[in-house]
């Protein structure tokens, strides 16, 4: 397998609007999701979860469950197959399922019931009774909870940063904003809950495990599970033909997947299906920690920033550390001579937090952009003007030039489209009948990444047709559609001439659909393979010839700071009697390199904006610290934006390409839409009402009284 530095690809199909290749299969119900995947005579698994937050399982009575017709077996820590857990490099503590009697959080898997039907499994699970020896637990992120500095923050960035002397900068400042901003616990809640179908086979070469999983990365799942199962990665085959969203929660396998694999191992040859329930997702499949950002901004009277100090407190789990990188965008968003960031974690006996769309950027930029709004008011400046005055020439964090930083154009274009010029600067100045009306703005940014390791294979099928294979997953983003466009341009053929194969570990290695890096990483590999294929096999290749290649990292990724940028504008109405907040208009203007497919890109950006609106006004997982679990654990009590909440919403982008990051000229677009949106909405509620709410969700009760 060869690594190639691909040449830029001339855009023909790239950039054109194409409807989703899998759209018809999805809307007609022909697309089979993980748990629907046909299997002969499958068994069904149901998880039994701990009802204490910390302690030891002393006794598990499974007699009644086993007596239930249809129940085949009950797995617990005494009888579940053993995992390989002695290698810290390959042992994920979250995945050490059913191996001992320890309970680390409420909702942890303590048993699993295997039955002939899903109903029998569920009923069996309800019949299992557990007795615990409980120990005191910590489940509340309090302002006085002891906190520690992790070694690094997600994925492996420095915990702290120091440039200049923040205290001196603040002392010199004419204007200081010193405030604390909070974000709520949030759960990803993709439409399709986590699910899988798994079969364990014993053949002559030893065990072979096949999964149809709802995941954002088939290769990462195989690579994570295999060593803990004592297997080589190629003995674990994972497919994910259709996935109903993930938002990061399916980025890596979680405990339910491991439980299902263990169960399958006890019934070789039979498929085991597990559908995680919505309620179980609130304990078992990751979430965004609540964050507390203490911000201090010091500026000259004209708004020029002298000091930026961002100190974050957030939560991790005692079972496994996860450090949300909340303050990392603060390191590059604006210029200031004196800058400091800190991350501190409070360790609690709770479920394991994980990635949720734009981890770090979402809560961090939220806090920064409200602080900027407050600074604008303190300086008597228009919030856009304040941002223009603090534009850096180079990346403040690395000193490198940006591969492209057109934040100012995003702000200005947005201001034009939104009619910002007509805005009255004073808050609480516009009423429309029963409503206060206001507008707000925020900047957005998201790092542009291409992950190393993806490979693609191009094969000639004859008659001018090609197979292009990459083990990437389309989690509903449109990757299937866009990768075919990239492949067509890289091969110089029509999109229709490309048979794209994805979502199977039997296909070449591909990285996770995460970090807004999927299209860039997989697309680069496809381009590399296509260009090498042409080099080796020419324009008229014999049927059957094929080439596999990976892309060398674009040198621009080293030379430049690579980020996407955007500006979000929101109009809110706050009801004068009830305090209810509505968002009649939401606009995002983005600089994201070449937009490869305006149809699917628009969906990604609108989806991000919607999720940002949802975070701004609704989303909050309420953990009851007495019990240790989230009690708003369904979609009736965990509110996400409904259709009626999303009114005028628009995403536009600058016409551009970024020549430095990949051969397509594109940057990632999956996450930037959620960044800054909550701040724009919150700032607009301040402008409407004159009431500054420094935590999300911004709920009606904040405005009545």
């Amino acid at each position: 397998m060869t690594e190639l530095l691909p040449d830029p690809v001339p855009a023909r199909a790239m950039g054109s609007a194409r409807l989703r290749a899998d759209g018809p299969a999805k809307v007609t119900g022909l697309a089979t999701y993980a748990v629907e995947h046909p299997a002969d005579d499958p068994l069904h698994l149901w998880l039994v979860q701990s009802t204490v937050a910390r302690g030891r399982l002393v006794d598990l009575d499974t007699a009644a469950a086993l007596a239930h017709p249809g129940v085949v077996s009950v797995l617990d820590h005494t009888n579940a197959p053993r995992l390989v857990t002695d290698d810290p490099d390959t042992t994920d503590p979250e995945l050490v399922v059913l191996q001992d009697d320890r309970v680390a959080f409420r909702g942890q898997i303590v048993a699993a019931v295997l039955a002939e039907t899903s109903e029998a499994a569920r009923e069996g699970a309800a019949l299992v009774t557990a007795r615990y020896e409980t120990e005191p637990h910590r489940a509340e992120l309090r302002d006085d909870s002891p906190a520690y500095a992790p070694e690094s923050v997600n994925p492996d960035q420095p915990t702290d940063s120091d440039d200049g002397d923040v205290e001196a900068g603040l002392a010199e400042a004419d204007v200081v904003v010193d405030q604390t901003y909070r974000t709520a616990y949030e759960h990803n809640n993709p439409l399709e809950p986590h699910a899988l179908s798994v079969t364990w086979l014993e053949d002559d070469d030893g065990p072979r495990v096949t999964l149809v999983d709802s995941t954002q990365g088939v290769h990462p799942v195989a690579a994570t599970l295999a060593p803990m199962l004592g297997l080589e990665k190629d003995r674990v085959r994972v497919r994910a033909p259709y996935v109903g969203g993930g938002f990061g929660s399916k980025g890596l396998p979680h405990a339910p997947e491991m439980a299902a694999v263990l169960a399958a191992r006890t019934v070789p040859g039979r498929a085991v299906k597990l559908a995680v329930t919505r309620q179980q997702m609130f304990a078992l499949t990751g979430y965004r920690t609540a964050t507390v950002s203490h911000f201090r901004l010091g500026a000259r009277a004209d708004g020029t920033l002298l000091a930026i100090d961002h100190q974050v407190r957030e939560q991790t789990s005692a079972l496994k550390e996860y450090a949300e990188q909340t303050a990392t965008p603060t390191r590059m968003l604006y210029a200031a001579p004196h800058r400091r960031t800190r991350h501190r974690l409070v360790e609690l006996d709770v479920a394991v937090p994980s990635w949720m769309r734009a981890p770090g950027e979402m809560p961090g930029v939220y806090a920064h952009e409200i602080a900027m709004d407050e600074l604008a008011i303190a300086c008597g400046l228009d919030p856009i003007e304040l941002r223009l005055r603090n534009e850096p020439d180079v990346d403040p964090e690395t000193g490198k030039p940006f591969s492209g930083r057109r934040l100012v154009e995003c702000l200005e274009r947005g201001a034009d489209l939104f009619g910002w010029a007509d805005r009255t600067p004073e808050p609480r100045a516009t009423a429309d009948g029963e409503w206060w009306v206001g507008t707000g703005v925020a900047s957005a940014t998201y790092p542009t990444m291409t992950q190393a390791g993806s490979q693609a294979r191009v094969s000639a099928l004859g008659g001018g047709r090609y197979s292009v294979a990459v083990g990437a997953v389309d989690i509903g983003t449109g990757a299937r559609t866009v990768l075919a466009q990239i492949a067509a341009d890289a091969l110089g053929c029509a999109v229709e001439a490309v048979d794209l194969e994805i979502a199977d570990t039997d296909l070449p290695m591909a990285t996770v659909a995460g970090g807004s890096s999927g299209t860039s990483s997989w697309g680069s590999a496809i381009v590399a393979a296509a260009q090498l294929f042409r080099r080796d096999h020419g324009e008229d290749p014999d049927s059957g010839v094929h080439t596999t290649a990976s892309a060398a990292q674009s040198p621009g990724m080293e030379q430049y700071a690579t980020h996407a940028f955007g500006a979000v504008f929101a109009q809110t109405r706050v009801h004068r009697y009830t305090g209810e907040v509505r968002v009649p208009r939401l606009l995002g203007v983005y600089s994201v390199g070449r937009v490869l497919n305006p149809v699917t890109a628009r969906s990604q950006l609108l989806g991000g904006l919607t999720m940002g609106l949802s975070a701004a006004l609704f989303e909050e997982s309420h953990r009851d610290p007495r019990f240790g679990h989230v009690v708003t654990q369904d979609l009736a009590t965990y509110h996400v934006a409904s259709h009626a909440d999303v009114r005028g919403i628009e995403a536009v982008w600058l016409d551009e390409e970024d020549p430095h990051v990949n051969p397509m000229g594109s940057r990632g677009i999956g996450e930037i839409g959620i960044v800054g949106t909550a701040a724009a909405v919150a700032n607009a509620t301040f402008h409407a009402t004159g009431v500054r709410v420094r935590q999300i969700p911004v709920t009606a009760d904040r405005f009545v009284g």
Binding site: T578, F618, V704, G705
Partner: protein, 332 residues
Amino acid sequence: MRELAYLRPDDVGAAVAAVTDNPRAQYLGGGTNLVDHLKLGVTSPELLVDVRRLPLDEVEEVAGEDGPVLRVGANVRNSDVAAHPVVRSVFPAVARALLSGASGQIRNQATTAGNLLQRTRCVYFQDVTTPCNKREPGTGCSAIGGYARYNAILGASEACVTTHPSDLAVALAALDATVVVRGAEGERRLPVRELHRLPGDRPEEDTTLAHGELITAVELTAGRLTRRSTYYKARDRASYAFALVSVAGALQLDGDTVTDVRLAWGGVAHRPWRATVAEDALRGSTFSEEAVLAACDRELAAAVTSEDSAFKVPMVRNVSALVLGRLAKEDR
């Protein structure tokens, strides 16, 4: 194994007898609430008596002692009631209340009786791993000191602090609707205001109905006041959310003088809360927003709140002012 028997009689008497005879039997309407509870383990009946074949699906206009009466069969779907022309013109509060509830799909499935008898949405009630006096008497109330955003501020007890979730029930309480009930002993009528109860020390009982009593209809008497009625539900998201607070109001003015008024509150108590103290204060007075707020303050003097539910006091008085203010504008 948990056996669950299922009957679908087409005769009211047979249905009533089947449930009356079995203490672990329950009626099944549209199932949008009960089926969830079966799955969650909140309730485990041994017999379900499906009422949907019973002849209770008509909306009829009949003559009544105090004026024309609209009789809504227990099985009429929420969406059909909301769309009924007489409901829309003569009882607008009822149509608005229904349309503010749940989602289009659920309203198409949910029945009138089922809506009134839906159980609380208290998160602990629905989570069988936590104590709840309503679900399991004597285990304690997790909502006290817990998630309190949807808790009651009026009429709660130490045993239970939850609220009743139905929007329809609030509108019916304001309009003094009557519930027609069939039991083993025959038919009886009760004011809807007497259907739901406060928790006291028996929070497991939501209503005053005896086991086996079947709701067959709801009756609404038309009047000048019912036509001048409306409903407002304050909620976190614009659709598909239960009320933080809601207000059903009706108003009759003579010039600026309040000749008659109805005010019922949702989201504040274990049952729809008729704000009779506020009504009495307003009746005969000169209408103004201040007068409404002052009248609500009297009603709310008894409110007991926690940090997370304190907002309901200003919110419900504001929404009352909003609702009656809108009606006053219409009336002038």
